[in-house]
């Protein structure tokens, strides 16, 4: 019990520290005083125009990835599940690839189009994620009225592979500069700002509220859908809410930072290790850990080869995998 309270206090503190670090560090350093509103004009411009929107964007994406990973693992009672397994991330990538290759989409970047506010790549990624989510759900639901969760995971994995192959095919058959789309696929927050933040605010808020709504009955899924239904859970309704919150979370996440994998997978496992398996602690603390992990990764990505920048998605794996393996192999408590 004492250990539980320790981790419950320490994890929000860790998050606050990573937010402050993320605001301070980068190609151009900002003093701690500036973070608390005491900086000079130059520092304030960096802080308000560059750092703050980006840090908020990373924070929200981390919350979404961590939370949706926890919700998916609980609902599908599968320690490998995350929204990416439904093929949503690959769908988003396909959307982004189409946007960067087909000439018509890029024309939107011109003044007056939607592209003036948000890049067409991100817009198409968002659309791709939503369409992929709807498609895989309707496909799994089409058989006999009710869908089985296993069918959903199978269809999702298969469709995800299909989308990835289509993306690779499109990229290899066109003779364009691949650098920008490549960093996008690896997951990067480079050059994102207030516009992207405003765009994902609504879907993110809806998704996070849904995560809290679904979290309590999710514990009862531990013995499968039948057993949960017999205990009084309306499983069919719950499934729709879970899928909706996952699709929104991933769409918003890829729109903000491309396809960042792994955070949704490991954040819940880390929390489960320290705080136990109960959904009412697992879901919110997975959000906190997801955000902390992504903030630290993004900060590292900005300072390692400053003034250049690495994709945050790479750092997530480099930082996360050793930590994760050490935890897993360290034996159960």
């Amino acid at each position: 019990m004492k250990r539980d309270i320790f981790w419950k206090i320490i994890s929000p503190i860790l998050l606050v520290i990573s937010v402050i670090l993320a605001l301070m560090l980068g190609a151009e350093k900002v003093s701690l005083a500036a973070v608390f509103g005491q900086g000079d004009k130059f520092e304030n411009i960096i802080l308000w125009q560059l750092r703050l929107p980006r840090v908020l964007l990373v924070l929200i994406t981390g919350l979404l990835l961590g939370g949706s990973g926890a919700v998916f693992q609980l609902f599908f009672r599968n320690p490998l599940a995350e929204p990416g397994i439904m093929g949503i991330s690959s769908g988003a990538t396909l959307g982004a690839v189409i946007a960067s290759i087909v000439p018509g989409f890029m024309a939107l970047t011109g003044k007056g189009g939607v592209g003036a506010y948000i890049s067409p790549v991100n817009l198409c990624a968002f659309a791709g994620a939503l369409i992929a989510g709807l498609f895989v759900t309707s496909l799994a639901f089409s058989r006999g009225g009710k869908s089985s969760s296993v069918m959903l995971l199978l269809c999702g994995t298969a469709l995800g592979t299909l989308y990835s192959s289509l993306s690779s095919m499109l990229l290899l058959t066109c003779n364009k500069e691949l650098h920008s789309i490549y960093t996008w696929i690896l997951g990067s927050f480079n050059g994102r700002g207030w516009n992207e933040l405003l765009f994902i605010l609504l879907p993110s808020a809806v998704s996070i509220i849904l995560m809290f709504i679904v979290s309590r009955p999710l514990d009862l899924l531990t013995g499968g859908e039948k057993s949960a239904a017999a205990l009084g859970v309306e499983v069919d309704k719950l499934r729709i809410l879970v899928l909706l919150c996952g699709a929104l979370a991933v769409s918003a996440g890829v729109c903000a930072g491309g396809t960042i994998g792994f955070v949704g997978l490991i954040a819940p496992h880390i929390v489960r290790k320290f705080l136990g398996p109960r959904a009412r602690t697992l879901v919110p603390f997975s959000m906190l850990f997801g955000a902390t992990l992504l903030l630290l990764s993004d900060t590292f990505a900005r300072i390692i080869i400053a003034p250049g920048e690495l994709p945050a998605g790479i750092i997530t794996s480099i930082l996360g995998v050793p930590f994760f393996l050490a935890l897993c192999l360290g034996g159960r408590k």
């Binding site: 009955p217 514990d219 057993s227 859970v233 398996p277 109960r278």
Partner: protein
């Protein structure tokens, strides 16, 4: 059986799976305080019958027929206030929300495992979900869990991790979760399977005592007919649907163990010859 005292009725139940008939014209009733064991050969549809009665059949199963329980005047008077109505109501289980069903009927699947390693207390607490508002468990819920733990002599396991329990202990913890639902009827699918020769009768005796003490109506699928004959108040024999296809024969056989467990009935149900012997020590139980 006298129809007017029956509390949980299944009538004209048919179930088909991919055009194969699993259950044919099943009629049965459960009454509180009676421990009924469901016996039949593999594939006769014991699990199917229990899952249909619990309201959680397989999605591909096509079910026709009527499953109702009687909601007594007691629970109605709670909702209607000072004027207790004289008549009780029969309720079709397919028409009520799952929460309401879970407060009346508890169902234990065969060989269920838990993916996550809850403590015994937290796991049993899940049985209280149907009584909570949005899953917020109250102090009352916790004390009901403590009461069930004490009833089943599981109190020392309260803080244990369920993955650290033996098969028999976990089976008891699952039973505790079902009892925490404070149901009126228990539907159990092979509650004593995979247990050793000592634990199997121990669990059956525990079930029998609990059923009588708490006045529950219980239908339990038990594959071991000797075990069923030894502990059950009544036996329900379920022959495969294919064996009764001519329609004239009975779809279920129901009665006390001494009446129902004879060579004719067992041959009819299982399709093979049996030899029945009376064992002195079991006489008192029957």
């Amino acid at each position: 059986m006298n129809e007017t005292t029956a509390d949980f009725n299944v009538s004209n139940l048919n179930a088909t799976y991919n055009k194969t008939q699993i259950l044919r014209n099943i009629n049965l009733s459960l009454i509180p305080g009676e421990f009924v064991c469901l016996c039949g050969p593999n594939g006769a549809g014991k699990s199917t019958l229990l899952s249909v009665m619990a309201g959680v059949p397989d999605a591909k199963l096509k079910v026709t027929g009527d499953i109702r329980f009687i909601r007594g005047p007691r629970s109605l008077s709670l909702s209607k206030g000072s004027k207790p109505p004289q008549t009780s109501r029969t309720i079709d289980i397919s028409t009520i929300p799952r929460r309401d069903l879970a407060r009346t009927i508890a169902y234990l699947q065969q060989n269920e495992y838990s993916e996550w390693d809850f403590t015994v207390h937290d796991y049993i607490l899940q049985g209280r979900y149907a009584y909570t508002r949005y899953g917020h468990y109250t102090a009352d819920d916790h004390s009901i869990v403590d009461g069930v733990l004490a009833d089943l002599k599981l109190t020392q396991f309260n803080k244990r991790n369920i993955h650290s329990l033996s098969g028999g202990e976990f089976q008891k913890v699952r039973l505790a979760r079902a009892l925490a639902q404070t149901p009126r009827f228990l539907l159990l699918d092979e509650p004593a399977s995979n247990l050793d020769y000592v634990y199997e009768p121990h669990l059956m005796q525990l079930l029998r005592d609990t059923v009588h003490k708490k006045n529950l109506g219980v239908l339990a699928a038990v594959h071991d007919i000797n075990l069923a004959a030894r502990f059950a108040d009544k036996i329900l024999l379920l022959p495969p649907a294919s064996a009764i296809s001519d329609g004239a024969k009975k779809s279920v056989l129901f009665g006390s163990p001494s009446d129902i467990m004879n060579t004719d009935n067992l041959k009819y149900t299982f399709g093979v010859e049996f030899e029945c012997k009376e064992i002195k020590s079991f006489q008192s139980l029957q």
